[in-house]
């Protein structure tokens, strides 16, 4: 079972490489039960969107 530190690391890596099957399952299980990590995951995706738009105004 992943803890939150490991989960946030994998969530972050998931934005940069394709996670393995076991990793994806472990992350999904953790996110389903952990509000804190689920927020982190949403916010990391939002950061990507925001930073991409940086300077385009």
């Amino acid at each position: 079972m992943l803890n939150c530190r490991e989960t946030t690391r994998l969530v972050s890596q998931g934005l940069d490489r394709r996670l393995g099957f076991a990793e994806r399952v472990a992350v999904r299980v953790h996110l389903a039960i952990c509000k804190g990590c689920a927020r982190f995951a949403r916010q990391a995706r939002f950061l990507r969107k925001a930073v991409r738009e940086l300077g385009s105004s």
Binding site: E6, R39, R42, A44, L47, L54
Partner: protein, 182 residues
Amino acid sequence: MKDFRTRLEEERPYLVRYARLQLRDAAAAEDAVQEALLAALAGESGFGGRSNLRTWLTGILKHKIVDAVRRAAREAPLGGEEGDEAFEALFDERGHWREFPSEWTDPDASLSQKQFFAALEQCLERLPSKTARVFLLREHMGFDTDEICKELGITSTHCWVLLYRARMALRECLDMNWFGKK
């Protein structure tokens, strides 16, 4: 109608700010902008008024920034940067959040606000420079992690660590300077 050169000069302050954010080096940023403006002058016909001038210039500047990052990496390969201690405090000894990250209400609405991007830029400026450079190459320029590693001469693992730190730090910073204040 203003001549092309004048219109280019008017964009210089914006371009310098954009380049500084990514290069973290005033002189290198000025150089990159200078190169971009010269290239723009030489390629005026390529602009032809088709798109927004700033967008077109920013596109040219991005190439110059990537060149500058490459040069800098050749001269001084990216070494380690400080550790994860700052984030370790967010987790307890079992690796669980001491305190959950707070919920951001309707973050997408922020994307139409100028002040949000000002806050985001300030948060990016607080990142250590290598971390910021790698993060912006990845998330702003959209390069693959593999490409970034190769160009900067760092391992994928190191790259992922830097990207993780950037995301953690930016999340914290935006929480305090934007979402927590609304």
